[in-house]
């Protein structure tokens, strides 16, 4: 499965980038995310509970950051496993200052899934991924606003 898209944040590029590198911010943004713990500079361990069509199951996995190029881009690598299968994905995110205190996020990635997740959930996973990204970005926008106000 391929995902691709963009989202415009109302906030400066540096702040957006920092938020993306903050596990607590990410953890609250992803629906169903139950924990997100930083292991080292570029590795996080997490647990998530997902509902995809008839499947609802917990997954545990590792998120790692590569090609880190602050505050412009990075690559997110996810490897997760659970009772309903496994997922392995790569996502590239890029931040661009588009003026007016706005930052554009471009993302593209591939996700490979297996097990029940693939054999029963495949049909729904596209729309589930899209809606998770959408609500995640909206949540992050709110976090961003709060952060900017605090500053």
């Amino acid at each position: 499965m391929n995902v691709e898209g963009e989202y415009i944040f109302n906030g400066p590029q540096q702040a957006v980038y920092e938020m993306f590198n903050d596990p607590t911010a990410l953890a609250t943004a992803v629906p169903g995310m139950q924990k997100m713990v930083q292991v080292d500079e570029t590795h996080y361990e997490g647990a998530i509970f997902l509902r995809i069509g008839p499947i609802s199951a917990a997954f545990e996995g590792v998120l790692s950051l590569t090609d880190v190029n602050p505050p412009e881009s990075c690559t997110l690598n996810i490897e997760g496993k659970g009772k309903a299968g496994f997922a392995k994905g790569v996502g590239r995110v890029k931040f661009t200052d588009i003026g007016n205190n706005q930052t554009k996020l471009n993302y593209s990635g591939e996700v490979n899934i297996g097990g029940t997740l693939a054999s029963v959930g495949q049909r729904m996973i596209d729309s589930v991924a899209k809606s998770m990204i959408k609500s995640g970005c909206e949540k992050l926008q709110k976090t961003l606003e709060e952060r900017c106000q605090q500053k």
Partner: protein, 782 residues
């Protein structure tokens, strides 16, 4: 050949049990102390097993035992080759890689079993499966058949130099020489996609080892109870009569249930004996989709050489056949394809080459149609391609090339799944087609209905194809017929039944010979405790092979009845006749003896025994054909296509078939209609889809679309031609797969005809609205 019972539309005797919920299925078996099994299956299609940690699962409350390959010791062995390799064909190459009962070292398809949990309930067993930690290193998956054949491909079996499972070439005549004489040569690539058996009832297995009697009883939803019994006995070191396999009522077979030596029937008998407890396993739908067996999935590269007048000079077909991760069922499916590609037309020069490949997909074994579907599909599509090239009518080119009835018996020169050269025994193929186009009003449709519809902006199209169905292959089947002391008759055969109506047609055969009521004949199928010789249910061979054996046994019993009665009534044998349920002296109905009393007399008491005693009104007989009997037919359909949504409605459907002598016209129509629904499912609904990582994306009925009653043709007619087969006394040929074969090519031809504004070229057997839309968009507009 129609008699008092034989040939009559007798209602199915089994239906009163099935329709009132009184039939006993595998899951209805309950034994005190019974445990339940659940399999943990691999999520990966291709991976090296690093570790399987079952510690937590073993501690799960209610779990009795957990086993992986490591726990099985010497009992872990690769399964048998269930069909011998095709070495009857000169130069054939075959690499046997049979099924491991449970994965060891490596997993080769998604759904392959890796551990089994035995627990007090299925719920507990399934929960405990989730406690198992399966650590594996994923490998790239082999999915594309043509790429899999290449030397550069990732290997499914590391010990082989390539993914070649088999290479089989056959030639009759000389294709390349014929090609030089041709006016026209057409060539094309076709795909016959992957489908499931999708029986209403999944597989099931219940086993009980009785320590005190030293006997094992197995209830299984199998099409092959005798091979299953022998395989279990062999593995367990038991003599055959220590294992009794019973097939209860089974909710559909359709092919995949012929496989034995899978995880359930290898592991559970061993575990039952180890734990000394009965065990039940009922397959769930996802397991069935992922890990039973399925079929089709071939890619053909075809070439046809013709004269300008449409006469076929030769045909060449090189095709890739997916056998899945293992090839335990040999080459039955692709050999059927080879024999069915050219069996209805006169093709003097034929070259055919099977390239069977291993992939990281579930094992391929027959599914109703069993290779015939693919052969019929590519040949009929090539006939359409040639007709288009030569600007001939599709019917005209077929009539020109169909074999004539005077040519039978005809040696095809191609060796089939039974390892003998095919012989087309009988039929009138041209008349099948002529009758078919007459029934569908072909001329009227072309000249009146279609032009009128087109003027109104409607897209109606017609498709007409022909087919043969190779049926009733060996090796043999047998039966025992016994008259009971109550005057009722019992028939026992090793042949097993999955809903075909055997209880009725077998009873009709016996009732006719013995002049008893059909309902007074009790048929027992697929219980090795009652009859312990036979092969299994496949290749449309029940009525013909088992039916012929039953008929022979009934004839022997009839002779015994006459001999015994004549002695008792003190008249010559030619002076007695069968009245209903009794034997009487000709012309003196008052001088009679009931069959029940006669049966009692046939079991001599002290003082009446003769030296060569053969007690009972009972006989056993077997039937083995020299080669299969070939049914034939033609099929036409009229479709209405919406070019915008690519929704297709089948307005009319005609199928003319010839299965030789008809035992029961009612059941015959049922068989054909069921087959047609499967054929229509193949044509426009059903398709198994694997992604590039070997994940099956259609493992539920949400994604794997079964055709429904509303998808069936609005009007359906069946025409019968009867050309008895000379191969057996009753003149029978099989018909179990006939309906399933012709719908995909007829559908393609009809849809192409309907969307006449496009230069549509449908090259896949399993369409759906989205795929048809894609084909339409890629086609040039005329």
């Amino acid at each position: 050949m129609t008699g008092k019972y034989f040939g009559q539309p007798v209602l199915r005797l089994e239906d009163k049990h099935l329709l009132t919920g009184r039939a006993k299925f595998c899951d209805d078996i309950v034994i005190p102390g019974m445990l339940h099994a659940a399999f943990l299956r691999s999520d990966y299609a291709h991976a090296i097993i690093k570790n399987i940690d079952v510690t937590e699962a073993r501690k799960h409350p209610g779990v009795v035992a957990v086993y992986t390959a490591e726990d099985m010791g010497d009992y872990w062995k690769l399964g048998p080759l269930q069909v011998p390799p095709p070495f009857a064909i000169k130069g054939a190459q075959f690499n046997a890689r049979t099924l491991p009962p449970i994965a060891k070292g490596k997993v080769r398809f998604s759904g392959e079993p890796i551990a089994v949990v035995i627990a007090e309930s299925r719920y507990i067993a399934e929960d405990a499966c989730e406690d198992i930690i399966f650590d594996a290193e994923p490998l790239p998956a082999v999915i594309d058949l043509e790429k899999a054949w290449e030397d550069t491909s990732v290997l499914v079996h590391d010990d082989l130099p390539s993914n070649m499972a088999a290479l089989v070439k056959q030639e009759s005549g000389d294709y390349e020489a014929a090609k030089k004489q041709a006016d026209v040569v057409v060539s094309h690539r076709y795909v016959a996609d992957h489908v499931a058996g999708a029986a209403m009832e999944n597989r099931g297995f219940v086993v009980n080892w009785d320590e005190r009697t030293q006997e094992m009883t197995v209830w299984a939803g199998t099409q092959a109870p005798l091979p299953l019994r022998s395989a279990i006995a062999g593995r367990m070191g038991l003599v055959e009569n220590q294992v009794r396999v019973i097939t209860p009522y089974i909710g559909g077979g359709f092919g995949p249930k012929v496989m034995t030596s899978q995880a359930d029937d290898v592991l559970l008998p061993w575990i039952s004996m180890k734990l000394n407890r009965p065990i039940k396993w009922i397959e769930d739908r996802r397991e069935n989709f992922l890990a039973t067996t399925s079929e089709r999935d071939q890619v053909h590269h075809c070439e046809m050489a013709l004269k300008n007048d449409g006469t076929i000079l030769g045909f060449k077909d090189i095709f890739y056949h997916n056998t899945g991760a293992y090839d335990p069922y040999g080459m039955t499916v692709p050999l059927n394809t080879q024999t069915h590609t050219v069996s209805n037309y006169r093709v003097p020069n034929f070259y055919t080459e099977i390239r069977m490949v291993f992939t990281n997909e579930m094992v391929v074994t027959p599914v109703r149609g069993a290779g015939r579907s693919e052969g019929v599909f590519v040949m009929e599509r090539m006939m359409d391609l040639a007709a288009r090239e030569l600007k001939m009518d599709p019917v005209e080119i077929r009539l020109k090339n169909l074999l004539k009835k005077e040519e039978f018996p005809l040696n095809t020169g191609v060796i089939g799944q039974d390892f003998v050269v095919g012989v087309l025994d009988s039929g009138d193929y041209k008349n099948n087609l002529e009758k078919c186009i007459q029934m569908i009003d072909y001329e009227k449709f072309r000249n009146e209905i279609q032009p009128k519809a087109r003027k109104e902006g409607k897209h109606l199209g017609i498709g007409v194809v022909t087919f043969t169905e190779g049926t009733a292959v060996g090796p043999y089947e047998g039966a025992r017929v016994t008259v009971g002391n109550n005057g009722k008759v019992s028939v026992a055969t090793g042949y097993s039944t999955q809903g075909q109506g055997h209880f009725t047609v077998f009873a009709q055969i016996v009732a006719e010979q013995l002049n008893v009521k059909v309902e007074d004949v009790r048929v027992i199928t697929g219980d090795t405790g009652h009859f312990h010789w036979g092969a299994g249910t496949f290749a449309s061979r029940g009525a013909t092979i088992a039916g012929s054996a039953i008929n022979s046994a009934a004839v022997l019993v009839r002779e015994k009845i006459f001999a015994t009665a004549a002695k008792l009534l003190d008249v010559p044998e030619d002076q007695v006749e069968l009245c209903e349920g009794s034997v009487c002296v000709k012309g003196h109905p008052e001088k009679s003896v009931s069959l029940g009393d006669l049966a009692g007399k046939a079991n001599p008491m002290r003082g009446a025994v003769e030296a060569d005693v053969k007690p009972g009104l009972e006989a056993t007989a077997y039937y083995a054909p020299p080669h299969g009997a070939t049914g034939s037919g033609a099929c036409a359909m009229i479709v209405d296509v919406d070019p915008e949504t690519c929704k297709v409605n089948i307005e009319r459907f005609v199928l003319v078939h010839d299965c030789g002598t008809v035992i029961n016209p009612l059941l015959l129509e049922g068989q054909i209609q069921g087959g047609v629904s499967m054929g229509i499912g193949n044509a426009f609904y059903e398709k198994m889809v694997y992604d590039e990582n070997g994940q099956l994306m259609t493992a539920s009925f949400m994604d794997y679309l079964m055709p429904q009653a509303t998808d069936m043709p609005k009007r359906m007619e069946i025409g019968h031609n009867v050309h008895p087969s000379p191969l057996n006394t009753l003149g029978l040929k099989g018909v179990g797969e006939a309906g399933a074969l012709p719908p995909p090519p007829a559908f393609c031809q009809a849809v192409e005809d309907a969307l006449y504004e496009y230069d549509l070229d449908l090259t896949e057997s399993n369409l759906n609205p989205s795929l048809l839309y894609k084909f339409k968009n890629e086609a040039t507009k005329r």
